[in-house]
């Protein structure tokens, strides 16, 4: 199982039946394809969809129906379509229960940086700032380190923030980590990585509190 697949499979378990979920551009949008076809969830896409669903076959694809990442999607029964003001009203009024979002950096205070790398990458803000600031629960999906092996889970973010103290949980290919008042608490980790090795790949200090009987990450 690839790192990405491991993250996505674990991410599926975050979704409470009956909830409204926004899947951010990048890794999170891929979560949809790991959901059972009859799973009771309404996927919100900030371009004006509640009830987005998996892409149809090419012959029945609708060129007027995409998600916020540009990918063609289909609709579930009971879906609704609306303008961008209503879509973000839904976000700002906290009617979206859960947002899964990508990160450049996330830190021990739950701060999130995912929109700008000064001097190198500044394509704009998109919908991330409002989703991060206003959704009831934010779960970050990220590889534990960047492509150079540097930690992405920091003591304090260095990049410009998307939103402060917004993240509830971080899911990487190695662990599931909660942001708490005490700091970052590891709830699950891969069976074949030691606490010391996980800490070595993480800039922020980790508190290990893996409950027995709790589902082990990556199974």
């Amino acid at each position: 199982m690839s790192d990405v697949e491991r993250i996505l499979r674990r991410a599926v378990l975050e979704i409470t039946p009956g909830s409204i979920v926004n899947l951010g551009i990048g890794l999170p949008t891929k979560v949809m394809h790991y959901l059972p076809d009859d799973f009771d969830v309404q996927i919100h896409s900030e371009n004006g969809i509640l009830g987005a669903w998996k892409q149809a076959e090419p012959e029945s694809m609708d060129p007027f129906l995409i998600d916020a990442s540009g990918a063609y999607v289909s609709l579930r029964e009971g879906a609704s379509l609306f303008d961008s003001a209503v879509s973000f009203a839904m976000i700002r009024r906290a009617r979206v229960d859960l947002t899964m979002i990508g990160a450049f950096e996330v830190d021990a205070h739950g701060n999130l940086a995912n929109w700008k790398i000064p001097g190198r990458f500044s394509p704009g803000i998109g919908g991330a700032m409002e989703l991060a600031q206003k959704t009831k629960r934010i779960v970050v999906l990220t590889t534990h380190t960047d492509k150079h092996g540097r930690p992405k889970i920091l003591e304090t973010c260095r990049l410009p923030l998307t939103a402060k103290a917004c993240v509830s949980r971080i899911i990487s290919e190695l662990a599931v980590i909660d942001v708490t008042n005490r700091g970052l608490v590891v709830r699950e980790k891969l069976a074949d990585i030691s606490d010391a090795d996980l800490q070595a790949k993480t800039e922020a200090a980790l508190i290990f509190a893996i409950e027995s009987g709790e589902e082990q990450h990556g199974e």
Binding site: L81, I125, G127
Partner: protein
């Protein structure tokens, strides 16, 4: 009163230097035919307001690549390398807003108001001290309304009075822009007589629309984009 216009005459009403809102989020809702006519007529020094810059060599990206655009007010241009390059080279001014804030700024102008109080981004680098207002014991960010001289809109269906119905995810910014611009130009492949819509189901009432252009066909931009098909 019939609002039907030819493609050429509708776009000819736009002068160089105009501020123009353009509907659409990605492809859906982008008025490709109106944009292509603006490319052909060659008005310059334009300010465009659009969620994104379309994909490279499509839609508003063509106007930018052709040097007709002075400034772009948008939320995200990450999918368009051509526009990113022009921005990085300083050939075009770009102002970024959070997506819902851009929508709300436009909607505020469309409602005939002048600004609104928010907390979005209030602790981020997009907020300057000048944007902050202490009011009745709390601190807000003031976001000012964003209006335009023209709006270019794609509707799935329309009638001669300018009543519009949108389709799929093509609604996005269009109803907001139709309210916020002084002169609203609509393209549609399906224009008919008043009475065709259930009155409750009109998305944009004709009062907000000035000109309607009937398209003989959609541009090829509205084909399926292979790179957005999942494999």
């Amino acid at each position: 009163m019939k609002k039907n216009r030819t493609l050429e005459s509708a776009i000819a009403s736009i002068p160089s230097g105009a501020v123009i809102m353009v509907g659409g989020f990605g492809n859906p809702g982008t008025p490709f035919s109106l944009i292509n006519e603006l490319l052909r007529q060659g008005q310059t020094n334009l300010t465009l307001i659009k969620n994104d810059a379309n994909e490279a060599s499509h839609g508003v990206s063509r106007l930018i690549e052709n040097g007709q655009v002075r400034k772009l007010i948008t939320t995200h241009i990450g999918l368009n390398k051509n526009v990113i390059d022009r921005f990085n080279q300083g050939e075009i001014e770009v102002a970024f807003h959070p997506q819902g804030i851009l929508a709300e700024k436009i909607r505020t102008a469309g409602a005939g108001s002048f600004g609104f109080l928010t907390d979005i981004g209030i602790h981020s680098e997009i907020t300057r001290p000048d944007d902050l207002l202490d009011w009745q014991g709390k601190t807000y960010k003031v976001e000012m309304a964003l209006r335009a001289d023209f709006a270019l809109i794609h509707a799935a269906q329309a009638d001669w009075l300018g009543n519009l119905v949108y389709q799929g995810s093509a609604i996005n910014f269009s109803p907001l822009m139709a309210m916020a611009a002084d002169h609203v130009i609509v393209e549609t492949p399906d224009l008919g007589a008043p009475g065709r819509f259930s009155p409750e189901q009109v998305h944009t009432p004709g009062a907000f629309v000035d000109s309607v252009v009937q398209l003989e066909s959609l541009t090829s931009d509205y084909g399926i984009l292979e790179h957005h098909v999942r494999r």
